[in-house]
């Protein structure tokens, strides 16, 4: 075999692995679209978007996605409101206060949080966090959005802290030095200069964490319950889009039935949410990245 042929084979291998990835994505979108299309032949889009009950598996069928969306957004907002302040504080500390060596050790340690299997987080929420919260809030249900949301927030802290810290590091040194030169304190430099300067990166990190939380499955399936409910009350059982998909996939729903198609309609909704969020973050990154260079 001569060199030219070897080159060609390698080139072909590289190309095909790229193509396989793209084809997989296209395939998933295709399946989602075609199955959702046949779902919407039977259920009107306005029912899907306005009905406030979701009971497709029962004799009296309702196909309102709102309870699932409310469950998903509720856990996600709780998660982000935990992860944003903690993650940002960590990022500012690591970037502006911590010695370099300390940062080098702590940053990878923090990222371990994201590497813990989510099923472990799920049981942590159910067996540790929920009983603890029940002591503080009597009458709170065993399955609830609050403890699932808090634990999910812990899981996405590294998304916020790591990416925000990168963003803070990417701010030109001249800005920091100028701030010190004007006599600012460390605190003023961090929160009045560095954070605003890195805001686009921080926003991107939050959006990515947000989209990770929306798609998170195991934690909410284990700890948040399986009851579709249109509510903003974090203390009662709810069901997220992902938990519903798990529930139906594990059950014994006949292939090709309307009940079966609901998981694709739900999946499509989820995909649209994460797709939009990822695009917003991409757009923000692109638009604001080179502001200071």
């Amino acid at each position: 075999m001569n060199r030219k042929n070897t080159e060609k084979i390698i080139e072909w291998l590289l190309k095909s692995s790229a193509i396989i990835t793209i084809l997989t994505t296209v395939g998933i979108i295709w399946v989602l679209l075609s199955e959702s299309y046949s779902f919407f032949q039977e259920v009107s889009l306005s029912d899907f978007l306005t009905d406030t009950e979701w009971t497709p598996l029962f004799v009296v069928k309702h196909f309102g996605i709102l309870p699932l969306i409310s469950g998903t957004l509720l856990t996600t907002f709780i998660a982000v409101s935990v992860a944003l302040p903690i993650g940002l504080t960590i990022a500012v500390y690591l970037s502006e206060y911590a010695p370099k060596r300390f940062r080098k050790i702590v940053k990878p340690l923090l990222e371990v949080l994201a590497a813990v299997p989510t099923v472990v987080y799920g049981f942590f929420a159910l067996m540790v966090v929920t009983p603890f919260l029940q002591k503080l809030i009597p009458g709170m249900a065993g399955f609830n959005a609050l403890s699932a949301g808090i634990v999910m927030g812990i899981m996405i802290i590294p998304f916020v802290s790591s990416l925000s810290e990168d963003a803070l590091q990417a701010v030109p040194k001249s800005l920091r030095n100028a701030s010190y030169g004007l006599g600012s304190t460390r605190f003023q430099t961090a929160f009045k200069v560095m954070v605003p300067a890195a805001s686009s990166g921080i926003v991107v990190s939050v959006i990515l964490a947000f989209s990770r939380a929306i798609g998170e499955t195991m934690i909410v399936a284990i700890a948040a319950g399986q009851q579709p409910r249109l509510t903003a009350n974090p203390l009662v059982p709810i069901e997220t889009i992902t938990a519903y998909i798990v529930q139906v996939s594990l059950g014994d729903v006949p292939h090709g039935s309307l009940e079966y198609k609901t998981i694709f309609a739900a999946g499509m909704t989820l995909f649209i949410f994460t797709f939009i969020l990822n695009n917003i973050s991409f757009w923000i990154r692109k638009k604001f990245r080179e502001q200071y260079d």
Partner: protein
């Protein structure tokens, strides 16, 4: 000394093996073959317990027990793919007709009773019992989105949100409960935590003061310390499901017999005959061990007679 020990050990092992061998020959347990069983997940624990015991007696017979639901099992049963079907309800006319069509005769044998338990959280101090009408009020499809608070069920109960837990629609237990409480083919409400996994239900009820749920009595037996069982009043005062009330049918309408179905081609096989006889003989002790309620011994004797008549 060491060598002597070794010799004694070897010798005794030898004697043991020899004894085992002679015992094997004296008993008539050298049958071989395989037995295929499928069907209800409710009956599964009993059949699997029997199969496990059976394997120690007849190690050369291969018994496999699947779980594809009563209906799924009957589908295989009427195609002649399995020997025995576990069933948590009697065979339907359509299924019986399909069996007739391809010339499979079958025998229904009751093996145990199953009760459905209605459960609440141990911290719940207001519910003493529920009537069948109250259960219907809670679970009927009309209640969806409407009956949401405890004080809507009975006056004087707290004005707190009601959290419902129950098996999902794929489970035979759900069908049974829906039919017994709400009536034929109307189903139940859908806004409750529905899970095929009974542990999720146990966890949900055990950690939620305002919960109410139902599932098979066998799972309650395993989780007695975490849940409170409540009586159901069917017009004759509240009755709590126990060995006695389920066995004599007074815990109505939430108790039912469960069955195994044996097909005629299977009953022609020596190993299946052996297994079914073993099943009916060991059922009285094994059934209660896995949390179900055995029939009275006289009933088991009747089933044995029925089976003996069938194989002749």
């Amino acid at each position: 000394m060491k060598t002597l020990g070794k010799i004694i050990l070897t010798f005794s092992a030898f004697v043991l093996i020899a004894c085992g061998g002679s015992e094997q020959k004296s008993d008539n347990n050298t049958l071989s073959g395989n037995i295929k069983i499928d069907g209800s997940s409710t009956v599964y624990p009993i059949t699997e317990a029997v199969a496990e015991e059976f394997r120690t007696v007849q190690p050369n017979i291969d018994v496999t027990v699947g779980v594809s639901g009563t209906g799924g099992g009957f589908k295989k049963f009427m195609r002649g793919e399995i020997d025995i079907n576990d069933a948590s309800r009697p065979i339907k006319t359509s299924e019986a007709d399909a069996c007739k069509e391809i010339g499979i005769d079958y025998l229904e044998l009751s093996v145990a009773y199953d009760g459905l338990a209605v459960l609440i959280n141990p911290e719940n101090d207001w519910v003493d019992y529920l009537t069948v009408d109250e259960l219907k009020k809670i679970w009927s499809p009309d209640a969806q989105g409407k009956v949401m608070y405890w004080n809507q069920i009975r006056e004087g109960w707290p004005n707190e949100e009601l959290h419902l837990f129950g098996p999902g629609v794929a489970s035979g237990t759900y069908d049974y409960f829906a039919e017994a409480i709400c009536g034929k083919k109307v189903g139940t409400r859908g806004d409750y935590t529905a899970s095929e996994d009974d542990h999720v239900l146990v966890q949900g009820i055990a950690t939620d003061k305002y919960s109410l749920g139902f599932f098979g009595l066998a799972y309650y037996e395993e989780n007695k310390d975490k849940l409170n069982i409540i009586g159901v009043d069917n017009g004759n005062g509240p009755i709590i499901p126990t060995l006695e009330t389920v066995g004599n049918g007074s815990y109505a309408p939430l108790s039912r017999p469960i069955f195994i179905y044996v097909s005629s081609p299977a009953a022609a096989k020596e190993e299946v005959r052996e297994f079914v006889s073993f099943y009916l003989e060991s059922a009285p002790s094994l059934v209660s061990e896995v949390g179900y309620i055995p029939l009275p011994q006289s009933e088991y004797n009747k089933e044995i007679e029925k089976f003996n008549a069938f194989i002749k």
